[in-house]
Symmetry: C2
Subunit: 240 residues, 2 copies
């Protein structure tokens, strides 16, 4: 069924799976997408639903009269007209007890052309790789995504003295990124071929605690101006 269904109705919701959750009866927006996913929204909390079921999952709709026959645990709310049971393969379930329905609209949307993004971490890494002078005069990039046993280092560089430097690139520099770079440096500094490897933590923004931790570990911090870098990039495009 390749369509979206939008429902506004009184409903009560019970979820069981990685946790259990309950929503008392109230009027809400229910969206069923072509992928089978179901989400239940209140009129706040931005785009996050109160409760949901991710695809793949299957929905079974039962009239309240029949659902009643199987109900042994508790009385069914008399307002309930039908029960939607949505199950995933992992055993999660979302039970929506639907009362009065105010809107029930189904339509086809077709395939979406998809989203084009610009400005994510990968672009920042690419721009830095093309402009190693951002780190300092005489710096060069040895390799992007330099593989180690525990994962890829974003940029492996050499400084003006030829010393290796591992660069961790983040859009927003937080403590996790420093931990990540620390793990790489610990490993790389056991490799005699590389000699002593220094670390640079490069991000558009660096949180104070991340900077403190980095400094404490002898890692340099570099705040990168994405727009300026992109400008450099465009300037080069014009020159050559």
């Amino acid at each position: 069924m390749d369509a979206v269904r939008v429902v506004i109705a009184e409903c009560q919701v019970d979820y069981g799976g990685r946790l259990t959750a309950h929503l008392p009866m109230a009027r809400r927006l229910i969206v069923v997408k072509a992928d089978g996913s179901v989400s239940v929204h209140a009129d706040d909390r931005a785009y996050k639903p109160l409760n949901w079921m991710s695809p793949p999952c299957t929905t079974t709709i039962t009239p309240a009269a029949q659902a009643d026959l199987g109900a042994t645990t508790a009385d069914i709310d008399p307002r309930v007209r039908e029960v939607w049971m949505i199950r995933s393969k992992s055993g999660d379930f979302l039970q929506i007890s639907v009362g009065e329905i105010e809107l029930d609209y189904t339509t086809e949307l077709g395939i979406d052309p998809g989203l084009r993004k610009d400005g994510v971490e990968a672009h920042l890494q690419a721009l830095l790789a093309e402009n190693p002078a951002t780190f300092g005069e005489g710096w060069s990039v040895v390799q992007r995504e330099y593989m180690t046993a525990i994962g890829p280092v974003d940029l492996l560089c050499r400084d003006e003295l030829g010393c290796y430097v591992a660069v961790e690139v983040k859009r927003r520099g937080e403590i996790d990124g420093v931990e990540q770079l620390t793990r790489y440096l610990d490993l790389m500094n056991r490799d005699p071929l590389l000699g002593e490897v220094r670390g640079v933590f490069a991000a558009q923004q660096i949180k104070p605690q991340a900077r403190t931790l980095a400094t404490d570990r002898g890692i340099s911090c570099l705040v990168v101006d994405y727009d300026a870098l992109r400008g450099l990039d465009h300037a080069e495009d014009r020159l050559f």
Copy 2:
């Protein structure tokens, strides 16, 4: 305006802010909530919209004819009937160029009674705090959320010999949790008042890599059975 608005329409979307993104013209589901948030959905990707604007933000709707007057950069798609400009205070914007509208429905949902959850990390921590024998005979809990300079340790305990033990509680134990506990232990072991502090990593599930890293650092791992603990809890309720 305390209401939800559900629109199904042809639209093109342009976002600028922390990154830039573009969606070509296609039929989509647009949801405007009472908090002012706007989200644009395709019929897949579960509950995540293709693009959105989080509250607080303000929406200005302009008929295409007028929007055209201000258009200097590019021709406006002739299918566009009105332009929604949604702006946040931080300068992010979401521009939705709306074409043919298939559905436009607005209604009040009222205040939602809200979601009740059970089984999150806080509950696991509370159950462990009430049942320190889970860690071992003769263990006691000194404090929950024991504050350190770099954040709160989930549980500070004493073992059967009276030695301090820092416990990190997770629903799912992964490498980040081990790093977190390691930072706490590094700090606490500099405090002469505590003496030597050991570490315990307690979770419902522990990933192999997390276990390996923990063991390597002298941190004990404990897999906790949430249901059994809850059972203990209920048993106690009945006994006293």
